[in-house]
């Protein structure tokens, strides 16, 4: 995707080139179910969710476009696609700071959960089994798992270990437009839910568990990001693209490095830790990488559950900001972006010089509690 005018040209060239084979449907409004209809090119009226029991003990995360934060899968296809995505829900011991681990409730075994990347107009057939009453290991190689699992195995910075903690759970994709009481319904341990949604709007969206108490379920770790890339791309062309999810953790020590959720602290908004990508050291132990002169694009999601983020990169100015990741919400020359709980922004900045660029929540109480990371820029490469 080049600039806006270029992308129109390139799209028409591609369309011309492809006219001998299958047509490229950038606004694929192909309907699959009788119930579906289209308004302004967006698909609504998806079929009812299915809830059932299945004998499944395979990989907990399945799908080619699911990655571990801060990675974003490359969309290596033209036009639209139907994604078959599985993201099981289960408990996992995760580390959020050195010596601080707790039994998290997770999607896919990490906090935040896997990043899903799709294109505006794509269809997602989503499947999730509530495996909270069984041990699920994500750190051992499996067949047919998503890139997410390989990336966790390569960089197990949360030291993920299986634990059992049965609870009812649900999945609420902010990127979907559906009847929530149907698709986002709660399932018991052992049950599987399956439903579809269409990525009608471009942007970076939160997903989370919507089961009561939502505060507890999200604070326990059940959230992540879906990046819906605009069908015509953004007006600029990024050299590097990363995903960053900020969240608060409300933990208290109950003995010997064992931490548990503190509901009182969560209600009072007194986090013990605030992290980027689920660990105070996630982006300092493994900093983001770029080179001098690069245009870096960050998809930043503030998952909350209750706090705000004043996201800032020390030494850079945001060249462009697309609030919520929608290319129509374009801002220029911003020093800081304020994100409420579940807000996101897609941010471009130019790396001015070789060096270290600190990423912070400029609400410094949050930065002190862990909301800080780094981007390390190497020397300028010839373009």
């Amino acid at each position: 995707m080049k600039s806006l005018s270029l992308s129109v040209i390139s799209a028409s060239i591609l369309a011309a080139a492809a006219s001998v084979s299958a047509p490229i449907a950038f606004a694929d409004t192909e309907l699959k179910h009788d119930s579906e209809y289209v308004i302004d090119g967006k698909v609504y009226g998806l079929p009812e969710a299915k809830v059932y029991r299945e004998d499944y003990s395979g990989p907990a995360v399945v799908g080619d476009y699911l990655t571990q934060v801060p990675n974003l899968a490359k969309l290596d296809y033209e036009g639209n696609k139907t994604h078959n995505v599985r993201m099981d829900v289960f408990s996992q011991k995760v580390e959020v700071a050195p010596g601080v681990s707790y039994s998290a409730w997770t999607f896919g075994g990490s906090v935040p959960g896997p990043v899903l990347h799709v294109r505006e107009g794509d269809r997602v057939i989503f499947k999730m089994k509530n495996r909270s009453d069984e041990e699920v290991t994500i750190t051992k190689p499996v067949k047919n798992g998503s890139p997410f699992l390989q990336q966790v195995q390569a960089n197990t910075y949360q030291n993920n270990q299986p634990v059992v903690n049965p609870m009812p759970h649900s999945m609420d994709f902010h990127s979907g437009t559906v009847a929530a009481e149907d698709k986002w319904r709660t399932i018991s341990p052992g049950e599987t839910i399956e439903f579809e949604w269409i990525a009608n709007y471009a942007g970076t969206y939160m997903y989370h568990c919507g089961t009561s108490s939502v505060l507890m379920h999200t604070a326990m770790g059940q959230y992540g990001a879906v990046v819906v890339s605009p069908k015509d791309g953004y007006p600029t062309d990024a050299d590097k693209e990363y995903v960053l999810v900020q969240s608060e953790h409300y933990l208290e020590e109950v003995g010997d490095g064992e931490f548990i959720y503190n509901h009182d602290a969560a209600l009072n908004r007194q986090p013990s830790h605030v992290t980027f990508n689920g660990h105070v050291g996630a982006l300092s132990d493994s900093p983001l990488r770029a080179d001098e002169g690069d245009r870096v694009r960050l998809h930043v999601l503030n998952a909350g559950p209750s706090g705000t983020s004043s996201f800032h990169v020390i030494g850079a100015i945001f060249d462009r900001v697309w609030y919520e990741g929608d290319p129509r919400n374009e801002w220029y020359g911003m020093q800081t972006v304020l994100l409420g709980a579940s807000n996101s922004a897609t941010i471009d900045f130019i790396v001015p010089e070789e060096g270290i660029y600190k990423l912070v929540d400029h609400e410094f109480a949050d930065a002190e509690l862990g909301a800080a990371g780094a981007l390390i820029a190497g020397p300028r490469k010839d373009k």
């Binding site: 009561s212 939502v214 507890m216 109950v254 209600l267």
Partner: protein, 261 residues
């Protein structure tokens, strides 16, 4: 107030070193109860009749005795309608619990199985209000402050596995209301209503305050227990769900309660 298993029971309980002594249910004296969670728009004071409640959750040993005398409820025989496939999953055999776990609360029991057990003992599952009413008495007996209650409850839910799962089968007062298992109650499936309609939000989007008689930590914790249990299927058989039975009080209750073996 001690009852002994019959001869058959002794024969079954070969895994225990000494004859198994079971404590009697304890009497919960009735009275006025103002539920901490408002299921109706108006605040209501409810009259709770006196009833008996098992002092502890039902143990593996007791449940084994039950399934031996009720083959329909053995793991190999239970109808699919009544469980989710994990019924008594942790038992090594159809008619045996894991070694050394005689006094552990039985888990992996569906709501249907729990009710059937209690019925076979001449009892029933406690109602939600009865259980919570007993819970308030328990907190008073044990001197558990509201803050500690809330804190411990959320702590248990965030990490329910403790190393110590045994219950005191000789308990003479209510025990282990919060620290062993989450317990089935008869009307566990919450129905939050708004006049004739089922409540639109059902407290599922963090709107708990509408349902609390006062927004205290303890009430919030109780609401959480209500809500999260309400989301289980009645077939759910999990590692943390157990139960205890309640018994109506009639003239001959104590003499006859549930000694089936």
């Amino acid at each position: 107030m001690v009852k002994w298993l019959g001869v058959a029971g002794l024969m079954f309980s070969t895994l225990t070193a000494s004859p198994l002594v079971l404590s009697d249910p304890v009497r919960i004296n009735g009275g006025e109860f103002e539920p901490p969670v408002l299921l109706d728009k108006e605040r209501l004071s409810i009259e709770i009749n006196s009833f008996m409640l098992d002092a502890t959750p039902v143990t593996n040993q007791l449940f084994l005795d039950f399934v031996k005398s009720h083959p329909k409820w053995q793991r190999d025989n239970i109808a699919a309608l009544f469980h989710d496939g994990n019924y008594l999953k942790h038992w090594p055999q159809n008619n045996a619990y894991p070694d050394g776990q005689a006094d552990h609360p039985v888990t992996y029991v569906s709501w249907f199985a729990a009710r059937e057990y209690c019925a076979a003992k001449g009892g029933r599952l406690p109602s939600l209000n009865e259980w919570e009413y007993a819970s308030v008495q328990y907190r008073q007996q044990q001197n558990i402050s509201d803050d500690d209650y809330a804190r411990n409850l959320f702590a248990w839910y965030s990490q329910p596995k403790s190393d110590e799962q045994r219950v005191n089968v000789n308990a003479t007062e209510l025990s282990h209301m919060y620290d062993r298992v989450n317990e089935w109650v008869e009307d566990y499936q919450l129905l939050l209503t708004n006049g004739d309609d089922v409540d639109l939000l059902s407290g599922s989007c963090g709107d708990g305050a509408r349902f609390l008689s006062s927004f205290t930590k303890a009430n919030y914790a109780t609401f959480f227990r209500y809500q999260s249990r309400s989301d289980y299927a009645p077939q759910s058989s999990t590692s943390t769900m157990g139960f205890r039975c309640a018994y109506d009080i009639s003239s001959d209750t104590i003499a006859s309660n549930g000694d089936q073996l």
